[in-house]
């Protein structure tokens, strides 16, 4: 990763209304030209971060830097960022052309420049035939595109997207995910995308910030976050997870559901209490003799490309399994998995400690 100055930086930014803390000391740094996602449940503070970048909200404390300049006190209209709003917020008194031309005309661009800019933007979102339409004549997906074109018409350095796809149906949402990603790569500007949909975040982002309770829980590439969730919340929020309590006996040996298992984690205190994560897609059904765990099938539903199976072990723990072969409800089967499928989470480990620990024993492995 080349060292470049971040386009946006948060330095211990907090925001509170009276006693209610919305954001608690957020530190983050965004680079030019990447697709970032703020992912979290509603009320986690992700939209608040967006509003702090756009200037709709002011931080209670901390510094917000834009290209190394503090912008806490710069008013909304003076910032070179633009927003695609959740419900689009298109001006109903203007047609498609006028909506997209709003920003450029405020900037006092010449008439021909405005026309060219609007035309280019509508072409980018594939709506060049719709310039004269009224907003009320457009479908939800088309309004979405106008909103994107309008925000991009100002040539922002950063585009903020506030759950822009949440109102679209599944198929359209998939298409727009792909298209947004393409637009971002073509224009090479920074996108900050807010969503509560983990699938969307994993599919689109270069980098994800997982948020909860006004705190960034974990940040990293989609692969990092999926494969190495740092705590219970992240493991549970991103994808499906089986989480059980366990004890890390020594390096590379973890004890859970009454048995010792070989795994690939290390760097913890002997006999430390931990949480063990096993992803449903990493579990496979097998015969009882070959099973590392013996379970009884409790429920099964067909999902097209796999069977979603709920099974219960003899200790009463529930296991979600995504299996390619079906089973009978009530049948006793074995579950099998590989040592590298086991992911260990320590209680209250910070992101920095987590990264340091990972690095320490990965170095050991190479020796």
């Amino acid at each position: 990763m080349a060292e470049q100055t971040p386009i946006i930086e948060f330095k211990s930014v907090s925001l509170a209304y009276g006693d209610t803390e919305i954001l608690k000391g957020i530190d983050l740094s965004l680079e030019q030209g990447k697709f970032y996602t703020l992912l979290g449940p509603s009320g986690s503070g992700k939209t608040t971060i967006l509003n702090l970048i756009s200037g709709q909200l002011a931080a209670t404390s901390g510094d917000i830097l834009f290209e190394n300049k503090r912008i806490n006190d710069v008013p909304v209209e003076k910032r070179t960022v633009n927003t695609v709003f959740q419900d689009y917020a298109l001006f109903p008194n203007m047609n498609v052309f006028e909506n997209v031309a709003f920003g450029p005309s405020i900037k006092k661009m010449s008439k021909t420049d405005i026309e060219r800019q609007v035309h280019d933007m509508l072409k980018l979102v594939k709506l060049d035939q719709y310039a004269d339409r009224d907003i009320s004549e457009l479908s939800g997906g088309q309004r979405q595109r106008v909103a994107i074109a309008r925000a991009l018409a100002n040539d922002p350095k950063v585009l903020l997207l506030d759950e822009p796809l949440s109102a679209l149906d599944y198929k359209l949402r998939k298409d727009m995910q792909y298209e947004l990603r393409e637009i971002q790569q073509r224009l090479g500007i920074t996108f900050v995308f807010v969503t509560h949909d983990q699938e969307e975040a994993l599919a689109m982002s270069d980098w994800i910030f997982v948020m909860n309770d006004g705190v960034i829980q974990q940040n990293g590439t989609p692969e990092d976050i999926y494969d190495e969730p740092i705590n219970h919340f992240v493991a549970d929020f991103i994808g499906e997870s089986n989480i059980v309590d366990g004890i890390m006996k020594t390096d590379y040996v973890v004890h859970f559901v009454g048995k010792d298992f070989e795994n690939v984690d290390a760097g913890m205190r002997p006999n430390e209490r931990v949480e063990v994560v096993l992803r449903p897609e990493d579990l496979d059904l097998t015969t009882i003799e070959n099973g590392k765990l013996i379970v009884t099938i409790d429920d099964q539903s067909f999902r097209g490309d796999y069977y979603e199976i709920t099974a219960i072990d003899d200790d009463g723990n529930e296991w979600q399994v995504q299996a390619t072969n079906s089973a009978q409800v009530g049948e006793r089967v074995g579950l099998t998995f590989d040592p590298e499928d086991i992911h260990i989470m320590r209680f209250n480990e910070s992101e920095d400690d987590f990264d340091a620990r990972l690095e320490s024993y990965e170095d050991d492995d190479e020796e």
């Binding site: 209209e77 633009n82 001006f91 109903p92 907003i135 925000a151």
Partner: protein, 272 residues
């Protein structure tokens, strides 16, 4: 099926009766009266008198001019007020305070103003503390405009307030986000979107102001003579119902013209 239709017809009876008795019949009577002479024959004489008389035409112009001034004054005061009310936290409460005076009888309010503005009234009393001699405040164009505007302001604020309240706050955010400052946002987004309320307010103030008559007498001291005053004179004083009706018809025509001018021309741009 039939009984359902009959029942619907039944529900229409009160409305139909009301419409017939208090809207259609009076309108026809008015029109009929205006087309008859004192001895009962059909004639256009009344209209000839009206249009031939400089006095009546001046009165008509006066009515329209004062109604225009009242509307303008209330609009200039009401729009910023409605805008500010909308920004307040408990806006419904503050709006209620503005609406409250409309629940009080018009005559009472008018008399209150006589008490305030008369030569021995509150305002002159107060001014005398500063050594200013009592002024003639009542019976002037200004006092008439003041009281008329005071009475009409709630009817202007209410529709404007409502149309402003309907505007999605996200639109204001979007405008700011796209680089417009507060003033540009007001001019290019808020003002156009609140026009339906402004038009409704103009209708609600301008049309009744055309036929104001009590205030013209009590506050304006008959110095301002409008069509409303003229109608009252003809019906109650000179007993010339025919000419009174003629002026009434003219007034109704003026109202209809105002409504046509201020209606929502195209019903596009209405969302959902």
């Amino acid at each position: 099926m039939k009984s359902k239709q009959q029942r619907q017809l039944f529900y229409l009876v009160p409305y139909g009766a009301w419409l017939l008795l208090f809207v259609i019949a009076p309108l026809f009577l008015l029109l009929f009266q205006s087309l008859t002479s004192a001895n009962g024959g059909l004639t256009l004489h009344n209209y000839a008198v009206y249009f031939g008389s400089g006095t009546y035409l001046r009165m008509t112009f006066n009515s329209v001019w004062f109604a225009f001034l009242i509307t303008l004054i209330t609009l200039v005061i009401s729009y910023p007020m409605a805008y500010l009310l909308n920004q307040l936290k408990r806006k419904q409460f503050w709006l209620l305070l503005v609406i409250l005076p409309t629940w009080i009888n018009l005559l009472l309010k008018t008399y209150a103003f006589i008490g305030l503005l008369s030569k021995t009234g509150t305002v002159n009393n107060f001014m005398s503390f500063f050594g200013i001699a009592p002024q003639q405040l009542l019976f002037s164009d200004w006092s008439f405009l003041l009281v008329a505007a005071y009475i009409e302001i709630p009817f202007m604020i209410l529709p404007i307030f409502n149309s402003l309240a309907e505007i999605d706050p996200k639109l204001e955010q979007a405008s700011r986000d796209l680089g417009a400052n507060k003033w540009q946002t007001l001019r290019r987004v808020i003002l156009p979107l609140s026009m339906p309320g402004v038009k409704a307010g103009i209708q609600a103030v301008f049309i009744p102001s055309l036929s104001l008559f009590m205030i013209t007498r009590l506050i304006g001291g008959n110095r301002v003579i409008t069509l409303g005053t003229a109608i009252e004179e003809h019906f109650l004083v000179t007993q010339n119902w025919q000419l009174g009706s003629t002026i009434g018809v003219i007034l109704i025509v003026a109202m209809v013209v105002t409504m046509i001018l201020t209606r929502d021309r195209v019903k596009k741009n209405t969302r959902k």
